[in-house]
């Protein structure tokens, strides 16, 4: 069989002759076909919930339930397109106002909290990573151990004790309760140390010769050279703080200091649940972030891989 193949010397007779019964090319085509079919199935599984949410936010409340059964085109696609749910949830319609809905304020406040955390953590984690990557200090390994050990503290499990501490500091029910605990992060410090170590030390030395201080080196050497790393960590911090739920839920009880995640979760605990409004609120809280991340996916994946493989 297959005497005409010149590659016999390199590809010896397979151990299982029945495997050759199907020509290799045909097998490859079949394998690719299976791959595509699985890929399409995956796309459906991952896109349908998002499509259901987005299209559901653009239809009228009654219509959502009308086409649930049997499954049809209109289970997903609105008959009448409408932005009423968005007007309600943002408190721009009389009905929305009567429910006291104000997602615009919650979005603005969450943006303010996120900005506070991202900016402060960029500053303080950069300084901390600079200390570990470049500065001299006696028993620096002990300081590093102090930082590493925080990684072992289970985050969600110590939220109640964290609340006790924040309450003792009289920070509960304030903006600062949402920002201060997160201005430094062991994960980010580690990622930044990796990025800073890749910058040649000769650059620092040259800057020192020119009379630059530590802050000068940070500003003119480290930050410009570690920009991709800083973008990555800023993205990770933004995602973390924008999506944070448990801490804002317990740390802040005042309605005017509610973050968007708490506001959405609250919509589901009312006596009457309005699906359209839940869809609309979820779209506002998630779609812009998803688009941002899909655009900057490269940076984000680099961050995940770094914290995942070097951590």
């Amino acid at each position: 069989m297959q005497v005409n193949r010149p590659s016999l010397a390199i590809e010896p007779l397979p151990l299982r002759p029945w495997r050759v019964a199907v020509p290799r090319r045909a097998r490859n085509v079949a394998a690719r076909g299976v791959q595509y079919a699985l890929g399409v199935a995956l796309l459906i599984v991952y896109i349908v919930p998002f499509a259901w949410m987005i299209l559901g936010s653009l239809r009228l409340e009654t219509e959502i339930f009308q086409f649930t059964y049997p499954l049809s085109w209109h289970t997903f696609v609105p008959v009448v397109w409408s932005v009423k749910n968005f007007l309600d949830i943002l408190g721009l319609s009389p009905e929305g106002r009567s429910f006291g809905l104000d997602f615009g304020r919650a979005l603005g406040f969450t943006a303010l909290v996120s900005a506070g955390v991202v900016v402060s953590s960029l500053i303080f984690n950069t300084m901390g990573a600079y200390f570990f990557a470049r500065l001299e200090f006696p028993r620096k390994d002990l300081v590093l151990l102090f930082v590493i050990a925080t990684l072992l503290i289970p985050f969600e499990a110590v939220m109640v004790p964290l609340y006790i501490v924040v309450r003792t500091l009289h920070l509960q029910d304030t903006y600062w309760a949402l920002v201060l605990p997160w201005y430094a992060s062991p994960f980010v410090i580690f990622a930044l140390i990796q990025f800073f170590k890749e910058i040649p030390r000769e650059l620092d030395e040259a800057a020192t010769m020119d009379g630059a201080s530590h802050l000068g080196i940070l500003r003119h050497v480290i930050v410009p050279n570690a920009l991709p790393g800083l973008i990555t960590t800023a993205l990770l911090e933004f995602q973390f703080i924008w999506n944070l739920f448990y801490w804002p839920l317990i740390a802040v009880g005042r309605k005017d200091l509610q973050t968007i995640q708490v506001a959405i979760a609250q919509q589901t605990t009312q006596t009457q649940v309005y699906w359209g409004r839940i869809f609309a609120g979820s779209v506002l809280a998630s779609v812009p972030v998803i688009i941002l991340f899909l655009l900057l996916q490269r940076y984000y994946i680099k961050g995940v891989v770094m914290s995942g493989l070097k951590g």
Binding site: Q35, P49, M53, I153, P161, L180, I264, I290, L294
Partner: protein
């Protein structure tokens, strides 16, 4: 000779306050904000938890009289605590293996560098960056008994309805399915990076020797991916042990405590029953259990890496 050079530098004119000490102080100022943060918001809470579990404590009244280990004694006799620990372990044992196996299969399926694979990867990645609140709110509507999308699909296919979230036997599995769907993208990214680290020449050599795809997977991919795989198992176990948000938004721990994971039970005691002391004792136990789990896993990781 060397002492002649060093000598003038030492008893410095300013005594203790040397140039070197000054530079150490400046250096420390750089790390000080982070150190203060970790001290205040990561270490002090543990001390606060120990204190408020040993003394009577309430949010309004502050600390009262010393009660010793009473809270811990109560905990050992609390059937709901044991139930919540069991539920949490069940959740971890269902979710982590399913997630790892599926993400490994997907990593191999999607490792091609073409546009279609990239699009599928992006779609799988979208829920990773989406808030868990949004995901669990949308999924709880999809799981709805009468009006949910899943039951719409099931009944349209002529199958019986499934009560997802109000059935004690199904609710935890329903949450696991959703969380695997959400978090698979994360382990997928890490495993794909691991796959890229395996040189192509290994697979080529095996192919020339006539190894089947399965043989290549068993004897090349799996052993070389071992370290990355174990890392994903360790981190996902620790993360999954602390699951809270889906339980809060979808089931509130019910039905019949079948989804009452440990972190939700802590929340319930601290903020719904206003029993901060007991919640602190529960936090401490969870902390100790997780420290045990992570040390055991770290040791396992280290022993395997050295082979």
């Amino acid at each position: 000779m060397s002492s002649a050079v060093v000598a003038p530098a030492y008893p410095s004119p300013r005594g203790w306050w040397t140039r070197r000490r000054r530079s150490y102080l400046i250096a420390f100022l750089f790390v000080a904000p982070a150190v203060v943060n970790f001290l205040l918001f990561r270490y002090v809470p543990i001390l606060a938890a120990i204190r408020s579990s040993l003394w009577q404590y309430s949010l309004l009244g502050g600390y009262g009289k010393f009660i010793g280990l009473q809270a811990y004694g109560r905990l050992l006799q609390d059937p709901v605590f044991w139930k919540s620990l069991t539920v949490t372990v069940q959740y971890v044992l269902l979710k982590v293996p399913a997630q790892i196996v599926l993400s490994l299969a997907l990593a191999i399926l999607l490792q091609r560098e073409d546009r279609f694979s990239a699009a599928v990867r992006s779609a799988i990645f979208a829920p990773v960056v989406t808030s868990i609140v949004v995901i669990s709110v949308i999924w709880s509507l999809m799981y709805h008994v009468q009006l949910g999308l899943f039951n719409s699909i099931l009944t349209s296919a002529g199958l019986p309805r499934v009560v997802f979230l109000s059935n004690a036997r199904v609710a935890l599995v329903a949450i696991v399915i959703m969380m695997v769907w959400k978090e698979i993208g994360f382990s997928l990214i890490v495993l794909m990076a691991g796959l890229k680290g395996i040189p192509d020449t290994f697979h080529e050599a095996a192919r020339i020797d006539g190894a089947s795809s399965w043989q290549q997977f068993r004897s090349i991919t799996l052993p070389l991916l071992r370290r990355v795989l174990m890392f994903v198992v360790v981190t996902q176990t620790i993360f999954s042990f602390q699951v809270f948000v889906p339980v809060y938004t979808m089931t509130k721990g019910g039905p019949l405590d079948s989804t009452k994971v440990i972190v939700y039970y802590i929340y319930q005691n601290g903020f719904l029953f206003q029993d901060m002391g007991y919640a602190s004792a529960l936090s401490m136990i969870t902390l100790i259990v997780l420290l045990g789990v992570s040390t055991a896993q770290m040791r396992w990781l280290r022993s395997e890496v050295e082979y």
